[in-house]
Subunit: 170 residues, 2 copies
DNA sequence: AGTTTAAGTCAGTGATGTTGACATTCCAAG
DNA sequence: CTTGGAATGTCAACATCACTGACTTAAACT
């Protein structure tokens, strides 16, 4: 099924880009690119005995300061036990602060400390630098296409979280 | 540094796509999209008590039949001990066959069995289906840009492996 | 008072990765 | 031909991380 041969379409729309071969190249490109995408932060984190989970937590706490634990869980898509282990070490190490909610005292609101901000900056500088180089290489039109495909690849609930974050920004 | 303001360029080349804000949106898009990218295979693998490592091994053995363990290691970027555990279970389960090399008996050449091919097809069908939907949504020009940015994001040695695989194909 | 919700914890399991030791095979220098 | 080093692959022990499930605590809701 779906061998992707052009077929008898009159609209002049080539469907060659939907062949299994093209799709597989896209899949492999995604695999290798993601390794590059995480390589620089991973190097920094390894020295601190942290993992990607710590990076993700720091990133999104910086992105949405004061977020609750539950909120963070739904963004990260991990279990609370898993997140809790990460948060515990980050709080113990003085990178994250957890404040009891004023309106609802059951909630804990998360913030980066000064130290936390420093590590966040170090991590995202490294990641942005690679991203910037790739963007510059590929050019603005390519970047637009890149974003378009990525957004189409998300699950519905991820896209909701993503869009929500975009709205919050700036 | 590099706040990405347009700046005094006369060439009409807008550099707005290189702002930190744009880069961060790209980073987050990459994060959420990769989750979608792996979600379908992950669901299938979970039922079989396999993980992503098994998927990767199966994918690349299918892609380059007869590859040696060492070769696979350089593509996957893990330690040989880690890969070995995965291979051992796949061989024990009858999905992969390991043949002693004829010219160099130290080497083991890896092949998928019929069962292995069946699982590979199941996994890549699921992944391709999502990819196809995303590609179709985004359109051919977007796909071209997507690929361009991904390739620019790879490390040099990953790009080498990626290009080599592309050459091998069909 | 009873139920629900938010957060945190403990125990057990499984996948993944690492280091270290080891066996086999190849190859080249003596 | 022999011997020692290098390459390839395997096995064992250990650490990390994430998950499920059950439970506790505290606060909010009804």
């Amino acid at each position: 099924m779906s061998d992707g041969r052009p077929g008898p379409f009159g609209g002049g729309e080539s469907l060659l880009f939907l062949t299994d071969e093209q799709l597989r190249q896209g899949i492999e490109a995604m695999f290798f690119a993601y390794r590059g995408f995480t390589a620089d932060p991973d190097r920094i984190l390894a020295k601190l005995a942290y993992g990607r989970a710590h990076h993700r937590a720091i990133h999104f706490i910086n992105r949405a300061p004061g977020t609750t634990v539950n909120n963070l869980l739904s963004i990260l898509g991990v279990t609370k036990q898993s997140l809790n282990r990460v948060l515990r070490t980050l709080i113990a190490d003085g990178l994250v602060e957890s404040r009891v909610g004023t309106v609802d005292k059951r909630e804990r609101h998360l913030f980066l400390t000064e130290q936390g901000h420093a590590l966040e900056a170090q991590l995202s500088d490294a990641q942005r630098e690679r991203m910037r180089a790739a963007y510059k290489d590929a050019g603005p039109e390519a970047v637009q296409g890149f974003r378009k495909v990525l957004e189409a690849m998300m699950d519905a609930d991820m896209r909701r979280a993503y869009v929500k974050l975009r709205e919050t920004s700036s």
